[in-house]
Symmetry: C2
Subunit: 392 residues, 2 copies
Amino acid sequence: MTDLLLRNVRPMGGAATDVLVLQGRIAEGPAPAGIATEDGRGALLLPGFVEGHTHLDKTTLHQPDWLVNEVGPRIIDKIDTEREWRARTGHDAGAASLALARAFLAQGTTRIRSHVDVDTSGGTQHVERVLQTREAMKDVQDIQVVAFPQSGILARQGTDSLLDAALAMGADIVGGLDPCAIERDPVRHLDIVFRLAEKHAKPVDIHLHEPGSMGAFSLELILERTRALSMQGRVVVSHAFCLGDIPERERDTLLGQMAELGVAIATTASASRPVPLVAPCRAAGVTIFGGNDGIRDTWTPYGSPDMLERAMLIGLRNNFRRDDEVALAFDCVSRAGAAGCGFVDHGLAPGARAELVLVEARTLAEAVVARPARRVVVSGGRVVARNGALVA
Amino acid sequence: MTDLLLRNVRPMGGAATDVLVLQGRIAEGPAPAGIATEDGRGALLLPGFVEGHTHLDKTTLHQPDWLVNEVGPRIIDKIDTEREWRARTGHDAGAASLALARAFLAQGTTRIRSHVDVDTSGGTQHVERVLQTREAMKDVQDIQVVAFPQSGILARQGTDSLLDAALAMGADIVGGLDPCAIERDPVRHLDIVFRLAEKHAKPVDIHLHEPGSMGAFSLELILERTRALSMQGRVVVSHAFCLGDIPERERDTLLGQMAELGVAIATTASASRPVPLVAPCRAAGVTIFGGNDGIRDTWTPYGSPDMLERAMLIGLRNNFRRDDEVALAFDCVSRAGAAGCGFVDHGLAPGARAELVLVEARTLAEAVVARPARRVVVSGGRVVARNGALVA
């Protein structure tokens, strides 16, 4: 059953209407006789949410014991702690990613970009397991897998071959990580990343935590390679913290180049450090979209599979108070997320895949700030969740 | 019925035990025969939460229509918009404050400090109405009312007399507002505030949004007056944004003086601007505690009567990831909030008022990051809410 008539719903908070789904897509015209119907009772209708940057493979959300976090303050502390913890506990990326993907679906998220660790300790096993999750969810959720060298490529010999293997087995995107601060050799690191992208004809998504002028330098090297390889529209820079703490003039120069090259930004809208703000990115024509980053893992106890909560945090970080501003925060987990990640057929227009979320809210802004229960989630043309729980 | 035996609960996430309540207070020794019992089923037990800075009188949480926010970016835009909106709509501070106070109680908050507007447009009517709410809730919730000159004292003649009247009718605390940036005459403004405090023998709580060196200057003037009037332990500075953006050396000098004078800080942990951070305040011996500020009002669509959510936002803003750090974020809506506001008999020790919250969480950190439903809230020695809803 992939046909459905949703009655009495308010798309994006607008006037009440009916929405027709035929063969899993939003359709126009009269509903066929005998079609399954769902009474929306005037609920707000939103397109399925987009999680643009998370780590499905790392979560402990599904584990019976609480993971006590005692990690040190530096990024390298977190990298080393995690790799050792994964090896010691035999943490299962398959069970983790499936549990988290399902939790996301129950809260209305139908598109996910997940970075997945590839390193000389775990090899490609985490990618293999998340690819199984991707396959298991494919009828109702679209998962992109980034082959992500969390422990670096240069310091741990053989990582480049493992990335190559992960891409060959089906990972969708080539990841990268702090070319200066972690890798200590930005040109060599980025050349490996972009060479893999070229070889496999796959996009790139690079974690760039580096602050200030160091981060800006790495970003320039990324933009040079995007241009040289004609990878316009196929590169994402995740975090890009540097864009939050360089002078505005320099920032706007970089944003101008990013707009020209179609390089997008994934942000968590971290509350505790400088971040790229939504308004100047949009003003420059740069796509900026949202993600949780890790959820309940060795890095952080925070995060939630609720993208309305992420939209709220983006709104708070950007001081978005007006209704028209809060709508921009929502856009980061919706249209902009799909555009930045290259998810196709997203949205509420006829022809789009029918991924629909019903919530009790008077306006879009209320949906973001109140994060009401997901009354109904539709994906693949059928109801997949009610009141926050998946249906059989 | 103000006696109760709570069985099988884990105070602050520790070992399971029973908690005895006699005459509304936590007691020791054997339970009397025939006492009412509540099975905690191993839930985490927390003391009632403390909301240290909100505006009960302003919320639209109880209103049928969504308030579309179109306000300008400056503080003065928000002040003027709100005063005009209140006058135009006849917004009822009584209904608003009662609805929000009850929503707080349902989520486990038993102590609230609310700033309440006093101005030449509304006079003292908002204070009068919130005092009625204070009276209505007094058996189960302790509400402090700050007589708050939201529109300033100096520019609107007669506001000082209105503040005087509000304090005479029962407001607990004298409020103040940006002595330089809004009032334009810091000495005159603060002299009025502190003279009212002296006359009524009541504490002071001043909104200080001023940034950088201007805010630091105002803060120095506040500290001088605290010392001169021997008001040690009776002054709170709300927001104190300046402490987030002056050089650390100057900040620490000010924090040292605040610690000596017992001047506390109320923070929302705003994600969008510099704020005083928890760690340096605590290191200096300054009490810092948390609050929402406004909730769904003309200033902001955000905010929630859930103080575990505020603790989470404080944790995110302070980059608190370790379990021992997340506990500090919780402390801001618990012990530190009670200490900073002067709420007595708070906590889980014998003799404290039995204000108890049960949640399903394995650890304190999980309670903060997951914000589980409040299974049971006890206040005044009886169960007042179950599963997030007040009982009759």
